[in-house]
Amino acid sequence: MSFSNTETVENSKDLKQIDLKLKTNLSLIAFASSLALSFMTANPAQAYPEYQAFVEKNSKRSINCAMCHINEGGPVGNSKGQIGSLSEEELKLLSKARIAFEPGSDVHSPILNEFGNKIISAVGKKKFLEYKTSPEKLAAALGNESDLDTDGIPDAQEYLDGTDPLNKFHGEPVKLFWINLNRCKTHVILTVLAVISINFGLLSLVKGISSIKKK
């Protein structure tokens, strides 16, 4: 319900801007700070509400920016994990992440969480911007190998389900049930045996007590 209702950057403009900046060969810091400055003033919301809207519609669960960003309120602002709070060092990382157009690059954006960084490094910023119009394709692009929280449901599936890809205890209940049942079947079997045996013992105990009293 809390989509940011301000306009987002158009990709072409964004790309052009970056291209231009690169050509002018400005130093990295100047580039980063000017970039950060440019969208703090001109384009306040740099999150991608299209994805949020898609996930909420697809999964019927409400989610917020914290699925991919560090701050649940998105990247804009002065709180933790928002652009206003970044140090010089972090701004460098941010600008590096923002030009990771091709997949496979090592991304450590200070405004993104592990899953957000994973998306950018797995599909690349270029593709990511393309998928904005068809967010369902992002899941396919992420593939099924990566499972950051090791709960057994791949990140891409958690994205579609609207569950937290970084919380081991959060996922579609039915899927989690089968995965965990398979994982701890020895425990379950042992417990079944133990409970049956203890129950047998208790029943005998009751029998014993009642036969004492019968005398």
Binding site: N64, E72, T163, V188, V195, V206
Partner: protein
């Protein structure tokens, strides 16, 4: 009526409910018989509720070792239990699942006892103790919900407590302020904060369990003294010994239920049904996130509260509480057929409101 006769009749009342000559192992356990008929499954619901309570006590004690009831630590400590403590997530899940099961069984127990007319003389005390136990169980749910101190917990508690204050609008004069004072007593400060957490913690961990155990003692004692109620109109032809046939079946059922509970707690984290933003730690400076609602077992009163004027709900719940407590006298003469019909109506309402409450609410709103 003279004072003397009042005292005498009171004394007689207590004597009828707790006959001294029956207060021994022989008549309370050995001689006890459990009737066998098509409703006898109802006899197991009470024991099952108690079993879940025992699980709650054990898992609760486990959790007590790590939980810290302060606003800055509560959420972290719960996460710590989940993430780092060996078997912590299992214990916590069992506590959560078992709480839901306990409430389900308690309500089921109430419904079956009502349908079987198990409240007539000399079982009035049993019934009233049972109704009080049910209220305590609900209070357990309400207080326990706040303890993890996450978004949904604190915000739902805020809404819940604020509804108390609403009652004030229907009270005259000086009384109008009483609900507010009650709310602030529970809350401890102007808004839900550290004082609230401390109070809820004390209630959940010490006061409610002690009350519940003592009432449960009374409940069980009177059940054992008077034996199982007949349950059906025609006295059942068959019956089985409480010791040891009934206990046998009870224990086996408990073992089976325990296995189910264990498997489910092992495999499905209780929180996975909620959207995850609600599980984030409570943020006192942010806005209330969407999708705040109470636990499922409050849906039957929550959704009507959303749809109907407040006074309707207030009146209805007051009548309900009154009727529940006075049931042994109100329905003294009712036939089991009538009671069964009423029970089916009530269960139908509970089931529909709990499962389809949200859809009905959506329909109603648009």
């Amino acid at each position: 009526m003279s004072l003397n006769s009042v005292i005498n009749s009171t004394f007689q009342f207590v004597k009828d409910r707790f006959p001294v000559e029956k207060l021994n192992y022989h008549s309370m356990v050995e001689k006890k018989e459990v009737p066998v008929h098509k409703m006898s499954w109802g006899y197991y619901t009470g024991g099952l509720t108690m079993f879940f309570f025992m699980i709650q006590v054990v898992t609760g004690l486990f959790l007590l070792f790590y939980y810290q009831p302060t606003v800055s630590e509560a959420n972290v400590s719960v996460e710590y239990i989940n993430k780092y403590v060996a078997g912590g997530s299992l214990i916590r899940n069992m506590h959560a699942w078992s709480s839901s099961c306990m409430i389900f069984c308690a309500v089921l127990h109430l419904l079956t006892a009502f349908a079987m007319k198990s409240f007539v003389k000399p079982r009035e005390i049993t019934w009233i103790a049972g109704v009080l136990l049910l209220f305590i169980t609900f209070t357990f749910g309400f207080t326990g919900y706040l303890l993890p101190w996450n978004q949904i917990a604190v915000n739902a508690t805020k809404v819940g407590l604020q509804s108390i204050e609403y009652i004030g609008e229907y009270l005259p004069g000086q009384l109008a302020d009483v609900p507010r004072i009650i709310r602030e007593t529970f809350q401890g400060e102007a808004s839900v904060g550290q004082s609230t957490l401390g109070r809820f913690y004390a209630l959940h961990v010490v006061i409610l369990p002690l009350t519940l155990v003592s009432l449960l003692g009374l409940h069980l004692l009177s059940v054992q003294i008077h034996g199982m109620s007949q349950g059906v109109d025609k006295p059942a032809k068959k019956s089985e010994k409480f010791m040891s046939i009934f206990i046998f079946k009870d224990l086996s059922l408990w073992a089976f239920i325990f296995l189910c509970l264990f498997t489910v707690s092992m495999c499905i984290p209780f929180e996975s049904f909620l959207p995850y933003p609600l599980l984030a730690p409570y943020n006192p400076l942010g806005s209330t996130p969407a999708g705040i609602k109470p636990e499922w077992y409050f849906f039957f009163v929550y959704y009507p509260l959303e749809m109907l004027p407040f006074w309707v709900i207030l009146l209805a719940s007051m009548i309900l509480v009154g009727v529940l407590i006075l049931t042994p006298w109100i329905f003294k003469g009712a036939s089991r057929k009538t009671l069964g019909f009423l029970t089916i109506l009530a269960s139908l309402y509970l089931v529909v409101m709990t499962i389809f409450g949200e859809q009905i609410y959506e329909l109603f709103k648009h």
